[in-house]
Every structure is written in C-alpha cells, then in structure tokens.
C-alpha cells in the first residue's frame, strides 16, 4: 500500500519535473549593469514581452549593480570565461556602460551584430560608432541615452544659471544652497566635476576623443583650485538620490541630477512640480547604455532577436520614453511617431532638443576621465 503510494508520488513528481523542463527548454541569460530601475525595466517590461513572442524561451535577468562597477563585473566574468577556454559563455545579452562597452570590444569579447538586425539602421547617434575614442561600430546598440543636468527649485530660483560662470556667481550669493555629491557617492557628482573641467580646463571635444595627451591634465591645476574654492560655498549630499532627497526637503535649492531619475521621481511624486531642469553651458556629460552580445553567447540568434525587440520603435517609445523617461537609443524621429504629443513634450519640456544637442556632451575617454577623478582627489578633496 505504502509502496504504491510512494511510487505514485515519485511518478507524479518526475512528471511535473519533466513538464517544467518541457516548457522552459531554453534560457536566455540577460545581464544588466546599472541601477535597479534598469534591471526592473529588463525584468518586468522586456522579458515578458520577449517570452510571449518566443514560447519555450525563458529570460533569466540578472543585475550586476549600479555604475561602472556593475559593467566591470560583466567584463570580469566574460574575460574569465574567455581565459578558461570555454566553448560557450553563459551571458547571451549584456547591458553595459559606454566606457566598458569600448573595453569589451577592445578585448575581443563581443560579437558584431548591428548589421544583422533590422533596427540597426535606425541608430544615428555618434555613440553607436564611437565609445569614448574606441570604434565600436557594429558591436553595440544604444539602449537609451541618459543625461545629467542641473535641477533647481523654481519657487526660490526665478532666474536659474545658464552657465558654470553664472552658477559660481549664484553660489557666492546663496552659500550652501547648491548641493552635489562629490565624486565618490554617485555619477551625478562626477558629471558635475567633469563639466567643470570642460568649462575651465579643456573642452569636451578634445577630452572625448583619442589621442590621449598625458600632459594635458597638468594644465587643470587652476580649474581644480577654483573648484576647491567653489566647494566652500556648497552643501555636500549623500549620493544621486541624496541630492534629489535634499531638493525635495528644501535643504538645497539646486544640484546636478540624472534627467531620467529626475523625471521618474517627479512622476512618482517624490519631488514637487516646482523643481525644474536646466542644462548649463558649456555642457554636462551624459552617456548611453549599450546592448551587447558576447562572442561565444550560447544563443546568438535569440540574443539578436532580443536586442531587435528591445530597440524596435514601439518598445523604445512605450518602454524607454513613456515608462522610464529616458532619451531613446535609436533616432528620435523613428520614436516620435509612436508616441502621443503630450509624452513627447514632457520629455523635452525643460531641456529642449536644441539644448540637448548643444550642451549634451560625452564623458571623456578613459585615461582623461581617470585624470579628472584623481585630480579631484589629489587637489580638491585632499
């Protein structure tokens, strides 16, 4: 009796096991660097859409953490798998930051695929070809473009600064009312410092392109000295979210933020409508996130289909622009037609497309970027 029941149980168990395997025979591994909202985007928005279109495929989404550190982890994992001579690597699609995207290409870890997919031709931005001085043509598709800008409380600041010069004058008149997070607590502060060097050190065009001139950094001493002086009139905030928090609580009236994070918080009511954005001259940096697929991805075909879906005008309009407030990765003209006018206007309400093309800069190439950060550590915060 007992033996029979046991057998029945074992049989049922093994059947259910089989059923599970039969349904999810293929797993597509998607690994995303970046903040939680990006992992959420891939996990809750993209993956279900892809699974619905591809029965029998399960998308396994893993987040590796915010900032360049997250992308670093992806690179370390791929290099390790390459070095150990594996035939297939367990990442099919990765979402990485611009700088690491370039390094992945340089280290031969990525496959070219842009010419294979239909949406490949819809990309017009320079960042799809050039990742901080490294030619990445064909290896990457921009997922979205993110930009930093200065947020200000329009209840208290009626005439927001239009340039770094005006900002400096403003902080002298309003000490401690401007806040940023230094360079160790998040990228919005790093962006602000980079913009400072673009303004008072060397222009963005020189720093964002090869070749690297190691003597250039020595000419930034004055810029760093001015920044040290500037830092005396401001409040330091704890992190990207910390700056927005302090703006919200009225502890500071101005500070650098990521545009997408700003719009998301505004939509969720975490910051009041009176907080607005301004992109100041000569410009602040922004960066794309890239979809890439490794050389030895286990499912190269599915990976291409996944990226094609993710960069299709519909998904870019609905997911990237409408739901997550990012600037689209493919050319905006392809996206505009899929969106209602109100959503479109909202994205460009405070920073006009002209401002964006004029003052939206790239980050500097790797070695200059390190020079800026280390120069800050050595001469401003030391």
């Amino acid at each position: 009796m007992f033996a029979n029941t046991k057998m029945a149980v074992v049989a049922t168990l093994s059947l259910t096991q089989l059923a599970v395997f039969a349904h999810a025979e293929t797993t597509l591994n998607v690994v995303s660097a970046g903040s939680q909202n990006m992992v959420d985007y891939v996990k809750t928005y993209l993956a279900p859409k892809f699974e619905a279109a591809h029965p029998g495929v399960k998308v396994n989404v893993v987040g590796t953490g915010p900032g360049d550190a997250g992308s670093h982890k992806i690179m370390e994992k791929l290099s390790a798998q390459k070095d150990s001579g594996l035939n297939t690597w367990d990442i099919d699609v990765a979402v990485v930051h611009q700088q690491i995207g370039g390094e992945l290409v340089k280290n031969g870890l990525l496959a070219t695929y842009r010419q294979d997919i239909n949406t490949g031709k819809m990309v017009t931005r320079d960042s799809a070809v050039n990742a901080l001085g490294i030619n990445v043509d064909g290896y990457v598709m921009p997922m979205f473009h993110s930009q930093t800008a200065i947020a200000y409380n329009s209840d208290f600041v009626s005439n927001p600064p239009k340039s770094y010069d005006e900002l400096v004058t403003w902080t002298e008149k309003n000490p401690k009312a401007f806040g940023y997070n230094g360079i160790k607590n998040g990228m919005s502060g790093v962006s602000f410092v980079t913009g400072w060097i673009y303004a008072y050190g060397t222009d963005a065009e020189t720093l964002s392109a090869m070749p690297y001139d190691q003597n250039l950094a020595a000419s930034w001493d004055k810029a760093f000295a001015q920044l040290k002086e500037f830092n005396k009139n401001i409040t330091f905030t704890p992190g990207n979210a910390g700056t927005l928090d302090m703006l919200n609580r009225g502890e500071i009236f101005m500070g650098p933020v990521w545009v997408d994070m700003f719009y998301s918080w505004k939509e969720q009511g975490k910051i009041p409508p009176s907080i607005k954005l301004s992109l100041i001259a000569p410009g602040m940096p922004g960066q794309p996130m890239y979809y890439v697929t490794p050389t030895k991805a286990e499912h190269p075909e599915l990976a291409r289909e996944f990226i094609e879906l993710a960069t299709s005008p519909e998904i870019q309009a609905e997911g990237i622009v409408k739901q997550f407030n990012w600037y689209p990765g493919i050319d905006a003209n392809h996206v505009q037609g899929k969106l209602d006018q109100a959503t479109w206007n909202k994205l460009f309400a405070e920073i006009t497309p002209e401002d964006l093309s004029q003052y939206g800069k790239s980050f500097p190439i790797g070695p200059y970027f390190d020079d800026i950060k280390e120069g800050y550590e050595r001469k401003v915060s030391n």
Binding site: D68, P238, E251
Partner: protein, 278 residues
C-alpha cells in the same frame, strides 16, 4: 595516542579548510597585490599613493572609530549597569528588551533609516519644530561625520551591551550583596566590584565593535557626505571607478594593520581565559 591526534586533525580539517580558502588565501592575495606591480616586482608605490591621497581619510576613520568606541563603552556599561543593579524591575526589563532591537536590523537598513531621520528637514528636526523646540532656521543637518557616529553607536550598542550585560549577570551575586550589606552605593558597586571583573569582556566588546565599524561600507556611503570619508568608501571607489585593486588593497593593508593590533589583544585575552579554566 597518535591515532587520537590524527582523529583530531580530521575534526578540524573542514573548519581549517574553510578558513584557508575563504580567509587566508584572499588575505595573502590582497597583501601580495598591495605591494607588487602587475609584473610581480615589489613596490611601495601603491602604499605611497594610498597615504598621499587618503591620509586624511585614514585619520578620519581612526577618529570616528575612537569616538564611537568611547561613546559605546560609556552607554553600554550604563545600560548594563542599570539592568543588573536597578531596584525597579520594570525599568530594567523594558531596557533589557529595548536595547536588543538594533541587533536584528542590518546596517544598510539602519543607514537608510538614519538618512531620513537625521537630515536637516528630516523626521528628528521636524519633530522638534512641530513641538516648538526649534524654528526651521535653527535646524542643522546631521548627515556627515556626526551622523556616521550616531548610526554606528545606535547599531553597535545592542551588541556591546549584550556582551557586557551577560558578563555582569555571570558574576557571583553574593559579592554584590555582600558589598551592599557593607553599605556600598550602587555606583560604587558598579565601579569597584563589577567593572574590574568584567574589564576583559568590555575590551573584547570594543575590539569586535571596532572591527565591525572599520568594515562597514553602507554607512559612510549613505550618510557620509563627500570628504573626508571612511576608508571602506575609498576602497570601493578605487575599485569601482578606476578598476585599481592595488591601491584598494594597499588601503586594506592599512586597515588590516590597525585591526591586527586589536586582534592580538583579543586573542591574548581569549587564551588567558581558556588557560585560567583548564
């Protein structure tokens, strides 16, 4: 005799293996990385750079740890003393329950909590304003070094009080009663009878708190603002921002050296106690 020895060796093998793989190997590896170039040559360049860029942060870390430990010692001895000696049973029971609470809250949750509690227009200041104690212009932000200290003390208080109150409870009650019979005040009993006997436990509680405080990354990242900051934040920054494990490991080496002195004290104390028992 030899057989039993080999049995003992087998018994400790799993633990030794764990320590070897997950602690000693990474430790040696990071020490090696701190003093060598990529090519394998010995160098002091990384240590020099660590001191050149982060000497302020090293001093800041040491100061934060010292202040935290001093406040911790005073508070946890006071709480443990009240629990052991107070004539009001309900008071000591309530305290006994309350002080344990932070023990179950992770550091990162504590940090997030303190971040909204201690801010200039945060919960604490808003409560003061609502109750009429402060005006909005008088409030100050505690985010920064003071916030870091408050968070560490709040979180570690439970742990160190637990150890110290335990040691106090383990003391022979007859001594306290005898002292009381002879007319000693509670204050005097605490200072002259209890404290001298539990000094080693206090030392151990403080050493373990120090090591914990030195190793926490979330608190300086979430509550600290810019510079100076604690060494853990610098190590994370070196790795995340430059991919530079060498200088991060050099900072680790400095951190190890500070903790090693304390570990020596802890081990010595531990051995002494074991020696006294057998």
């Amino acid at each position: 005799m030899r057989r039993t020895t080999s049995h003992f060796l087998w018994l400790i093998a799993p633990a030794a293996l764990m320590v070897g793989i997950f602690f000693l190997y990474p430790l040696c590896f990071s020490l090696y990385s701190a003093v060598t170039l990529d090519s394998g040559e010995l160098t002091l360049a990384h240590l020099n750079k660590a001191f050149e860029l982060y000497s302020k942060d090293i001093i800041f870390t040491i100061l934060i740890v010292l202040i935290c430990v001093a406040i911790l010692a005073v508070l946890s001895i006071t709480i443990a003393g009240i629990i052991t000696l107070s004539p009001f049973r309900t008071l000591s029971k309530t305290l006994g329950f309350l002080y344990r609470l932070p023990l179950f809250i992770p550091f990162i949750v504590t940090a997030q909590m303190m971040r909204t509690f201690l801010a200039k227009n945060g919960l604490m200041n808003n409560t003061f304003i609502a109750s009429g104690l402060l005006t909005p212009m008088e409030t100050v932000s505690f985010l920064g070094w003071s916030g870091i200290i408050i968070t560490f003390v709040w979180k570690q208080l439970a742990f160190s009080t637990l150890l110290i109150a335990g040691a106090m409870a383990a003391l022979d009650d007859s001594q306290i009663r005898a002292a009381r019979n002879l007319g000693a005040s509670r204050w005097r009993i605490l200072l002259q009878i209890i404290l001298p006997q539990i000094a080693p436990t206090i030392g151990v509680a403080m050493v373990l708190s120090t090591v914990t405080i030195m190793s926490v990354l979330s608190v300086p990242l979430m509550i600290g603002t810019g510079t100076p900051t604690m060494m853990t934040a610098d190590m994370a920054f070196r790795i995340n921002s430059y991919g530079d494990y060498h200088v991060a490991n050099a900072l680790g080496l400095v951190s190890y050296s500070i903790c090693a002195v304390l570990a020596w004290f802890y081990l010595r104390q531990n051995l002494k106690e074991k020696g006294a028992q057998s």
